[in-house]
C-alpha cells in the first residue's frame, strides 16, 4: 500500500468568475504518508481542499481517489469512499455533546434510517450500541474521553479541534484532509496535535494538511507541496522546499508570521 498513490489531481482548475483560484494543479499524494500543502495567503490551498472534498464543482481537470474519478461524485458520498476533511473554523455541531459529535461521524459506517429509528427496531438498537462504542474509541484516541458528556462548545479551541479530528476519524477514512489544524493553538497543543497526526499515520491513514505554521509542518511532513496564486510552484521534502528559490520569493511577498 505504501508507495502507491492515493490521491491524484490532473490539471485541476477552479475559477470564480474571472478569478482563477486554482490553476492547472497536478498532485500525486502518496498513500500512508503525511503530506503538507503550504503557500502564502490566498494561494488557493483551502479552495483546493474544497475541490477534493467536492464542496463545489471543478472548472477543469480531474481528481482521482484510489484510481477512481471523483469529479461527479457528490460531496456527501466522498466520506463513505474514504475521504474526510476538517475545517479551518472547526464547524462542530454546537447543539450536541462531545460524544454525540463523534457519534455523528459514524454516519457513513452505519445504516439504519427513519423507520427503524421510529420503532426502535432491534437493528437500530444494535447499531446504536456499536456507534457508541466506536465513538468512545475515537474520542479516547484524541484524548478527550473524559469530556464525553460535555457540550461540544464548552471545550477550549485546542480541544475543539481535536474533537473535530475525532469526528472525522470516526468515518474510518483512508485519507484525511486537515485544514489549518494548528491555527490558534499554543505550543503544547501543537505538540499534542503533531503526536496525534503521527498516530493517525501509524494507523495506515494518509494525511494531507494545509498549514501556515512552518516549524509544525517541517517537523511533521514527509512531503511538502507549495502553492502560490493557485499554481504549484515547488514540491519535495521539507528540507528541499525550504531552500527552493521560488518558495522563498513567494513568501517574501507576504508578512512573516
Amino acid at each position: 500500500m505504501s508507495g502507491s498513490v492515493i490521491l491524484e489531481t490532473k490539471g485541476l482548475t477552479k475559477a470564480f468568475g474571472g478569478l482563477v483560484a486554482v490553476d492547472k494543479v497536478d498532485l500525486s499524494i502518496k498513500a500512508g504518508k503525511i503530506t503538507a500543502i503550504i503557500g502564502p495567503n490566498g494561494a488557493g490551498k483551502t479552495t483546493l481542499f474544497n475541490l477534493i472534498a467536492g464542496v463545489f464543482p471543478v472548472s477543469g481537470g480531474e481528481v482521482y481517489f484510489q484510481g477512481k474519478l471523483l469529479n461527479k461524485v457528490p460531496a456527501h458520498k466522498r466520506a463513505s469512499l474514504g475521504i474526510v476533511r476538517t475545517f479551518q473554523h472547526v464547524y462542530l455541531f454546537g447543539n450536541m455533546t462531545v460524544l454525540e459529535n463523534v457519534m455523528s461521524g459514524r454516519h457513513p459506517r452505519s445504516s439504519y434510517g427513519f423507520f427503524e429509528a421510529a420503532l426502535r427496531l432491534p437493528k437500530a438498537r444494535r447499531e446504536e450500541e456499536a456507534i457508541s462504542l466506536n465513538a468512545i474509541k475515537y474520542l479516547n484516541l484524541v484524548g478527550l474521553g473524559t469530556h464525553a458528556e460535555h457540550d461540544a462548545l464548552s471545550l477550549p479551541l485546542g480541544q475543539q479541534k481535536l474533537l473535530a479530528v475525532a469526528r472525522a476519524m470516526a468515518t474510518e477514512p483512508r485519507l484525511i484532509l486537515l485544514d489549518e489544524p494548528g491555527a490558534g493553538l499554543n505550543t503544547s497543543e501543537k505538540r499534542q496535535l503533531s503526536d496525534l497526526i503521527r498516530n493517525i499515520r501509524e494507523m495506515g491513514i494518509s494525511v494531507v494538511l494545509v498549514e501556515h505554521d512552518m516549524p509544525l509542518v517541517m517537523g511533521l511532513a514527509e512531503w511538502v507541496i507549495v502553492l502560490d496564486s493557485g499554481q504549484k510552484i515547488a514540491e519535495g521534502t521539507a528540507a528541499q522546499v525550504q531552500k527552493d528559490q521560488k518558495v522563498i520569493a513567494a513568501y517574501l511577498g507576504e508578512e512573516v508570521e
Partner: protein, 295 residues
Amino acid sequence: MSSAQFVQYLISGITSGSVYALVGLGFTIIYAVTKIINFAQGEFVMLGGLLSFTLIHSAGLPLVPALIISVLIAAAIGAIMYLLAIRPAKNASVVSLIIITIGVAIFTRGIVGQMLTKDFVRPPSFSGEESISFLGAYIDPQAVWVIGTMVVVTIILHLFLNYTMVGKALKACAINPVASSMVGVNPKIMALIAFVLAAAIGGIGGVVLAPLTPISYNAGVMLGLKGFVAAAIGGFGSPVAAVFGGLLLGVVESFAVAANWGPFTSAYKDAIALVVLLLILLIRSGKLAEEERTG
C-alpha cells in the same frame, strides 16, 4: 385578439406590474443592505392605501397632504419596525428573522383591521375618473399615475443610490458590509435607512394603487408575495432588475388571464404569480447553492 385588446391587456399588465415593481424595490433594498427578506413589505403598501383613505375620508384632509402624511407614516412605521423588532434581535438566525418579520406583518394587519376598517376602501382618484383613449384602448387616469409614479420613484432611487453620499454609502454597504464599515459606514444606520426607504416606497405604491383597485387590510399578503417574485426575478440585486421583474410578472399575469388557458380564470390569476415564483426559485436554486458555498 384584436390590437386594441392587446393594448388593453398590456396596459393592465404594466399597471399592476408597476405596483409589483415598487414592492419589489422595497424587498431588494432591505435584502441588499441587511440580507433580510422582509415579509412585512406588502403591509407598507396596504398602509399607504388605507391611511390615505382614512385621512381623506375620516379626517377630511385634502388630497396632497393626505398622500404625503400617509407615506411619512408608512416610513415611520418602517423605522419603528427596524428599531423595535429587528435591531433587538441582534445575531438572530435566519429562521428567527423570518418569523419576526411575519410577526410584524400580521401584527400590523391586525391593528389596521381593528383600528381603521376591515372593509375594502377606495380613496378618490387623483385626477378624475374619465378614461383616456390610447391606441384603441381605454386607460383609467389613475393607472397613468401608477405607472408614472413607478418610473419617477425608480429614477429618483437611481439618482439617490449613485449620486448622493448617503445613497452611495447604502450601496457600498450592500456590496461589501465589512469593507464599508471599515471606512466609517455604520451598518445599523444603513439598515435603518433601508427599512425607512423600503417602507416609504411601499407606502407610495399604496397611495397610488388604492384609488385604482380597492384594497383591504388583507391586501398585504398577495402584494408582498408578488413583489417578492418581482425582486426574485431581478435576483435581489439591482433595483432596475426588480422593476423589470415586476413589469414582467404583471404582463404575464394579465395575458395568462386574457388567453383563458384551461383553468386560468381570474380566480387563478394569483396562482400564476405563485407558480412563477416557484419556477424561478427552482431555476435559481442551482446557481444560488453554488454561490453560497463559495461566499
